[in-house]
């Protein structure tokens, strides 16, 4: 069937550099001596740790439980012992720490009990739960929990399910190799997604520079008797962006204010489909992923690597050349320099590129913007990067938002074409994170204000309540004492407006009276169940004590009576 293709605006055509890493077949990396598994590997809530130091864990055992609905579980990549649950370097451009479970593998690679399920016999809700608890997230690099995206919009019928095998980033070939070698698994995974979303059509988009992958996927679809359409899309960066691929395959443009399900279309990466199939049909959670190791290395290729494997172990597999001076995680367009090689491979790690001064020459000095508009022509989202640049640079964030800064997908096309070598995307990232931080501060301030106002209100209320209570107590006290001392109460005591001073004094007197009664009522506790001899002894002591007590009481009692009487006298 001939598929009509659409075009997206802008885009660039950088050298793909994919050939070196597709020569070798997919290889499985050995188990490293230590695994550092960060708990927060997906968008959404941070999973809570389920293991403690010293616990033995099995391969596939959950070590972090999904926090809320938008979150995904994390699992032990192999069997071994938990030696620490602590903050370790994250695979993040900041190089900061994140809570991780450190596992020392025992080499046995012993699986936890696995259950093979058939998704067709399960409730859709149950399938989504399994996917969440198996840690299935978008493996294209965005790591958004897949089960959340697998809930069809209630109002809009699902027209198309788009499966993203475009892989438009240069150097990267992990999806290509996966499609070549494990096409059947992908197609079965897509069938699970199809059954959950019930779209009218399923479109698998693959860039036309991967004819082998297109052929194997086509063959797998036919072999399984599915009616999915495998479509070769023109190679142009960023055809693999979700919105771009949706545009190319369906002609639908998803506006900034909407999510794709509201337009009746949803998009998943091929590797996500594959991992969903493994999770349902084999009970295997996401514990490894395919990573492309390429660039300035001796043996470029793709490895299936356990999540949590430190980067230096991974890099050693490919053998970086002597003049390697940096490592980039992700592609050359959107990736970031790894600040620390002890950071682990995570679900978002699709590619590691070894860079050298010859492969990635240092950027040319930044020149002033000449407003040539080349960036606006290259922008796949039809933004005006030069305007955004002015506003970000001058910290005019409100204006930057007006020009739809948050529609920017940071694809890097604008920086790529800029004749003045302005690192535009870095300005946009700076502006975005600054705006987010202000948003956080604003929310904090609002919450603080609400709490402060609530506290003030409560203070006022408590004060009023206390005054009222005291006034009542004083009134009651006065009313009670009136008959006792008719001669000492010349003023009307029942007046509701008892002044605070008198109320306070009455309260103090009442408290003293209560305390005295309590003291008197209190009995020594060691006087029950005594022997006759002990009782006799006590009686003797009491006899001796009686005269002394009588003597002593004479003085304080007199004083006590006076103090007790004094308030009455005043009244």
């Amino acid at each position: 069937m001939l598929q009509r293709l659409f075009k997206f605006k802008g885009g660039v055509k950088p050298a793909t550099n994919k050939a070196p890493s597709v020569q070798a077949p997919l290889r499985i990396a050995p188990i490293p001596p230590l695994l550092v598994v960060p708990l927060h590997q997906s968008i959404g809530g941070q999973p809570t740790p389920l293991v403690e130091v010293g616990d033995r864990v099995l391969k596939g055992q959950p070590i972090g439980a999904a926090d809320k609905w938008v979150s995904a579980a994390v699992h032990a990549p192999t069997s071994g012992t938990v030696i620490a649950v602590e903050e370790r370097v994250a695979a993040h451009p900041s190089g900061l720490l994140t809570l991780s479970v450190v596992i020392e593998p025992d080499g046995q690679d012993e699986w936890i009990e696995r259950h093979s399920l058939d998704h067709a016999s399960l409730e859709p809700e149950r399938v989504r739960e399994i996917l969440r608890d198996s840690g299935v997230v978008g493996l294209g690099g965005a790591v958004f929990p897949s089960h959340v995206k697998l809930t069809p919009a209630a109002s809009v019928p699902m027209d198309e399910l788009v499966i993203n095998g475009a892989e438009c980033e240069p150097f990267m070939t992990c999806d290509d190799l996966l499609m070549r070698e494990r096409a059947e698994g992908i197609v079965r995974g897509v069938a699970i997604f199809r059954d959950l979303l019930r779209p009218k059509r399923v479109l698998i988009g693959i860039e036309d520079n991967k004819p082998e992958a297109v052929a194997t996927m086509q063959a797998a679809v036919e072999a399984l008797g599915e009616n999915f359409e495998v479509v070769a899309v023109p190679t142009r960066y960023p055809a693999g962006g979700a919105k771009q691929l949706i545009r190319v395959l369906t002609g639908k443009e998803v506006p900034a204010s909407k999510r794709s399900p509201e337009m009746g279309v949803q998009c998943f990466n091929v590797a996500t489909a594959y991992s969903a199939w493994r999770a349902i049909a084999f009970g295997e959670p996401v514990i490894s992923r395919i990573v492309t190791l390429t660039g300035n290395v001796e043996q470029p290729g793709n490895w299936e690597i356990l999540l949590g494997t430190p980067m230096q172990e991974v890099i050693a597999l490919a053998g970086p050349k002597a003049d390697t001076n940096r490592f980039v995680m992700g592609g050359p367009m959107m990736g970031f320099d790894l600040p620390d090689l002890s950071a682990p491979v995570v679900k978002a790690t699709n590619c590691i590129i070894a860079g050298s001064p010859t492969l990635f020459p240092p950027p040319a000095p930044e020149m002033p913007c000449i407003r040539c508009g080349a960036c606006a022509l290259a922008c796949p989202h039809e933004l005006q990067p030069f305007e955004l640049y002015w506003f970000s640079r001058s910290r005019n964030f409100g204006k930057a938002q007006e020009y739809n800064l948050f529609d920017c997908i940071e694809c890097g096309c604008c920086s790529y074409v800029c004749p003045s070598h302005i690192p535009l995307v870095q300005y946009f990232r700076f502006a975005k994170s600054e705006i987010w931080s202000r948003e956080r501060d604003k929310n904090m301030a609002d919450a603080a204000k609400a709490r402060f106002e609530f506290r003030n209100e409560r203070d006022e209320r408590e004060k009023a309540e206390k005054a009222e209570r005291l006034a009542k107590a004083a009134a009651a006290k006065a009313a009670e004492k009136k008959p006792d001392l008719p001669q000492a109460a010349p003023e009307p005591v029942e007046t509701p407006t008892v002044d605070a001073e008198a109320a306070k004094k009455a309260a103090i007197a009442a408290a003293m009276e209560r305390a005295r009664l309590q003291r008197e009522a209190a009995q020594p506790k060691n006087t029950d169940g005594l022997t006759i001899a002990q009782r006799k002894e006590i009686a003797e002591i009491e006899k001796r004590r009686a005269p002394l007590q009588a003597q002593q009481q004479a003085k304080p009692n007199a004083e006590g009576v006076q103090t007790q009487n004094s308030p009455k006298d005043q009244q």
Partner: protein, 183 residues
């Protein structure tokens, strides 16, 4: 002549009553400027400006009694925003600008006197008499009001550490290297 006067008088009565009705119906409670100023203030309720909370300070600014540079937690940026809003001159901050802080109670030393709980303007400290107290980190505004009342000096202020959640991309600044002439 008479008709003209009557028409004008009628017009005056109709318009006057309309205006009178509108002034009752659409009466604005409070000063809207105070709200705008308050939105800029950081709501730490610390009283470092000399007013008991952010709202009294906002009111004082709106009245023209207070200067706009008295809010250390708002920093220079706050001063700039206030100057922008009110059309006043930007002035240097009347105090030292500090990074955002967080109160931390040394739980070994705390005697459970509840003085800090009473001092906290946003109820961010939990505890009870003779029980250990602790600061709810997510609610603490870093106002320092709990530090002074503590009789055993077990509360300290610490700048908020940078974590992945609050990490920000830096402003792109490039090292200026001395030019090397190509051989």
């Amino acid at each position: 002549m008479l008709t003209a006067i009557l028409i004008m008088a009628l017009g005056a009565i109709v318009l006057g009553s309309a205006l009178g009705y509108a002034s009752i119906k659409f009466k604005v409670e409070g000063n809207p400027l105070v709200e705008k100023i308050e939105a800029i203030l950081p709501q730490t309720q610390c009283g470092q400006c000399g007013y008991p909370g952010c709202k009294p300070y906002a009111e004082a600014i709106a009245e023209g009694e207070a200067d706009i540079n008295k809010c250390p937690p708002g920093g220079m940026e706050g001063v700039r925003k206030l100057a922008d809003l009110l059309g006043r001159e930007v002035k240097p901050l009347d105090a030292e600008e500090k990074p955002k802080q967080l109160a931390i109670i040394d739980e070994q030393l705390c005697i459970g006197c509840t003085l800090c709980i009473q001092a906290c303007p946003v109820d961010a400290i939990v505890g009870a008499a003779k029980q250990m107290h602790t600061v709810v980190e997510s609610l603490c505004t870093g106002c320092e009001l709990c530090v002074k009342p503590c009789p055993v000096e077990c509360i300290r202020m610490e700048p908020i550490a940078e974590k992945i959640d609050n990490w920000k991309w830096k402003y792109p600044v490039f090292e200026i290297k001395p030019a090397t002439r190509a051989a």
